[in-house]
């Protein structure tokens, strides 16, 4: 099978961990694991529940109703010309994607310590699987958003620009995913090493929501403080998302470029860190 030349080995394990981690070919070999994990995630999530996958829709609907009451009626934040229900739902659906993917990824070492300490597979499979299942949830929730959008356009006086701009959504979603993955991977290494970071993640993501136009449009923010919101690389993505669906949002090309380059640089840095540090964390978790 193999030749007896002693210098030819299939693999080698040394003390040095690599920045580049598993090769793409190796990751590809584990694609079935990714599929299996996504499947088991769904099966587990809704087993022994009465409503099953309906929870996927109930959660954003209930949140939208709460926001409608609290921020729309009680606090009175204007949503511009857009119907508040659509406005909040769009924000919530996209925020959920970011929030779930980020917090999920950030704790993979702690959540999977048992698995990681017993069997080898490219660790990146786990965050990718998590991201995939959150994307599926997002797709289902977006379909509901689309139904609501069509309802509003057909049966109310509100109307917006052509549906053609919905084609921008994959770009937005791709960038949001990349950003949540990048932050998640970086924080997974940190939470693996330092337990306190877990609390920072929980707190930080809640605070970040207020710096992201989820419950308010950027145009509602006074000029003086708008820079603070726009410093957040998520802001242009949320505004673009709303603009594509609802025709309202403030976003410029330069902001988008800022967000994109931020995301890509962070993603590269996070992947390298994850590969380099991932092996060592097993000793520590």
């Amino acid at each position: 099978m193999h030749d007896s030349n002693q210098s030819k080995w299939d693999w080698e394990i040394t003390a040095k961990s690599s920045w580049w981690g598993a090769s793409p070919r190796e990751l590809w070999a584990y694609r079935f694991l990714l599929g299996g994990l996504v499947r088991s995630d769904f099966l587990r999530g809704y087993q022994q529940t009465v409503l099953g996958p309906l929870w996927l829709l109930l959660q954003p609907i209930m949140t939208t109703i709460t926001y409608l009451l609290v921020f729309g009626k009680m606090v009175g934040i204007s949503t511009g010309t857009v119907p508040p229900a659509l406005f909040y739902l769009a924000g919530i659906v996209l925020w959920n994607l970011f929030n779930d993917a980020f917090t999920g990824t950030s704790s993979i070492f702690r959540d999977n310590a048992h698995l990681f300490s017993k069997v080898y597979f490219p660790r990146l499979v786990i965050p990718f699987a998590q991201l995939s299942s959150h994307l599926i949830s997002f797709a289902i929730q977006s379909l509901f958003l689309l139904v609501l959008l069509i309802y509003y356009r057909l049966f109310t006086s509100w109307d917006s620009h052509t549906l053609f701009w919905l084609l921008l959504i994959p770009l937005v979603v791709g960038l949001v995913c990349a950003q949540s993955l990048a932050l998640g991977l970086l924080f997974s290494v940190l939470t693996g090493k330092y337990r306190d970071v877990k609390f920072i993640v929980g707190l930080g993501v809640r605070l970040l929501m207020f710096l992201t136009p989820v419950i308010y449009p950027v145009q509602y923010v006074t000029e003086k403080w708008r820079w603070l919101v726009q410093l957040n690389p998520l802001t242009p993505l949320f505004e673009l998302f709303r603009w594509a669906i609802l025709g309202q949002g403030i976003v410029t090309i330069s902001q988008l470029l800022y967000s994109t380059s931020f995301t890509l640089i962070l993603l590269l840095a996070s992947l390298l860190t994850f590969n380099k540090q991932g092996d060592k964390i097993i000793d520590v978790v």
Binding site: M1, H2, S4, Q6, K8, W9, D10, W11, E12, I13, T14, A15, S17, A29, Y30, F32, L33, G35, G36, L37, R39, S40, L43, R44, Q47, Q48, H114, L115, F116, S117, K118, V119, Y120, F121, L190, K193, Y194, D196, V197, D279, K280, I282, D283, V284
Partner: protein, 426 residues
């Protein structure tokens, strides 16, 4: 011409005791700042090498060996000898601190039975998932699916969540998945510690089949010396992170057993005033002599043992003495109480001998106590736990690997005989 499947070269793994890293983010940042940016010495690195030695635990130290293709290597050693660490490094779960492991072919490791099982999923889903975790493709799992199910014997429960399985079913399923993979190198850590004896036997059979018929390389850690000698060609004894011996499986196992035995086979007192005893009885010698089959073999269930005692009788005149010899297991059960008949003894040295035949006691740890009495009723001297010994297991031709029940294991003749060939009819 044989090929090397795994080559381990001066492999070391160090764990730091106590806090890992410096323990906090603030100190790690501070350390990074001083070492990486200001290029100074690590403020948390203890210059005092003695302190540092105390804080470092070398789980493995400078290990080098080779495993040939198709060879079954059994690894023995006490708890904490580094066996699992070694397997974890070869399985790519943890990184070594120093050294290199090189190899040929795909590795699959079963460091724990049931890794990656999701309790909420059905048996069917879990078979697929654990196959994927071990790096199989969908087609590979599907091809083996029926075989796995049959081996585990869970046909009826395929669509039941595994959390409702009995622990035996769970373990069977978990092992079945791993055993039906087709890696070039299989790594097994204590997989036989679980499951009932029937299943253990099945597992061993499977492992043997895998190694002998398909020529796969296997690294096997077990505390069952029986399994190691039966399955492995080569043995390696790890002791405190170093290789103590490497050689044929039976030689390594023997040497390991001899060293590991908790034995006090002899107590001798040259100075009578320091010897245990009282104004009536004073001990001189207690000894247990094993009659070994070969000089380097361990004391096992086949070994006859002779108990010897010598003591001073300090009582004046002619006394009617007797002695009771008690054998206890370390769990506290009395195996036997063997009295001597009364003998008339004068002042002076008295001795006695008692031989326990081989093939009588079960494997395990035992100790002797004795009592010396006058006129069968008055205790003169009692000595608890004067000698202790362990008997290793030996099973020869028996294909049974579970714990052999009972305190004794006498070798009474007992066998099945074909009494007739006609079929059963009511």
């Amino acid at each position: 011409m044989s090929t090397v499947a795994i080559q381990v070269e001066s492999l070391s793994k160090r764990y730091r005791l106590g806090t890992i890293g410096t323990g906090s983010l603030r100190q790690d940042v501070q350390r990074w700042w001083t070492t990486a940016i200001r290029k100074k010495e690590d403020p948390f690195f203890l210059a005092d090498s003695a302190t540092q030695q105390k804080q470092a635990l070398w789980a493995l130290q400078d290990i080098s060996f080779e495993v040939q293709q198709g060879e079954v290597l059994g690894i023995v050693g006490n708890n904490g000898a580094g066996k699992s660490t070694l397997l974890k490094i070869i399985s790519r779960i943890v990184r070594p601190t120093q050294g290199t492991v090189r190899g040929r072919g795909r590795i699959n490791s079963l460091l724990e039975v049931g890794t990656g099982f999701q309790p909420d999923l059905t048996g069917r889903d879990n078979i697929l998932l654990s196959g994927y975790i071990l790096g199989m493709s969908k087609a590979e799992v599907r091809a083996k699916f029926d075989e796995i199910v049959a081996f585990a014997g869970i046909e009826r429960f395929l669509d039941t969540p595994v959390k409702r399985y009995s622990s035996g079913m769970y373990v069977r399923l978990a092992f079945a998945v791993a055993a039906h993979l087709e890696p070039d190198i299989l790594i097994l850590d204590e997989v036989l510690a679980v499951g009932d004896s029937e299943f253990q036997k099945k597992c061993l059979g499977k492992i043997r089949e895998v190694s002998h018929h398909t020529g796969r390389t296997i690294l096997f850690v077990s505390h069952s010396m029986q399994a190691i000698t039966n399955l492995c060609d080569k043995g390696m004894w790890l002791h405190q992170g170093k290789i103590k011996k490497i050689g044929t499986a039976s030689a390594v196992v023997n040497e390991y057993l001899v060293s590991a035995q908790r034995i006090q086979l002899k107590q001798k007192w040259d100075d009578a005033t320091l010897a245990p005893g009282n104004e009536r009885i004073r001990l001189k010698l207690v000894e247990l002599v094993p009659h070994l089959l070969t000089p380097d073999s361990p004391v096992d269930v086949r070994t006859p043992l002779t108990f010897k005692i010598e003591f001073w009788n300090l009582l004046p005149g002619e006394t009617s003495l007797s002695m009771g010899l008690h054998l206890y297991t370390y769990s506290g059960e009395c195996v036997f109480d063997r009295p001597t008949p009364d003998s008339l003894c004068n002042q002076g040295l008295i001795k006695a001998e008692c031989t326990i035949p081989g093939d009588f006691l079960n494997d395990g740890a035992y100790y002797f106590s004795f009592v010396i009495t006058r006129d069968t009723s008055v205790d003169l001297f009692r000595y608890e736990e004067c000698l202790s010994f362990e008997l290793e297991d030996f099973r020869g031709d028996y294909n049974y690997y579970g714990k052999w029940l009972g305190v004794v294991r006498p070798n009474f003749p007992f066998k099945l005989i074909q009494a007739g060939v006609e079929s059963f009819a009511s």
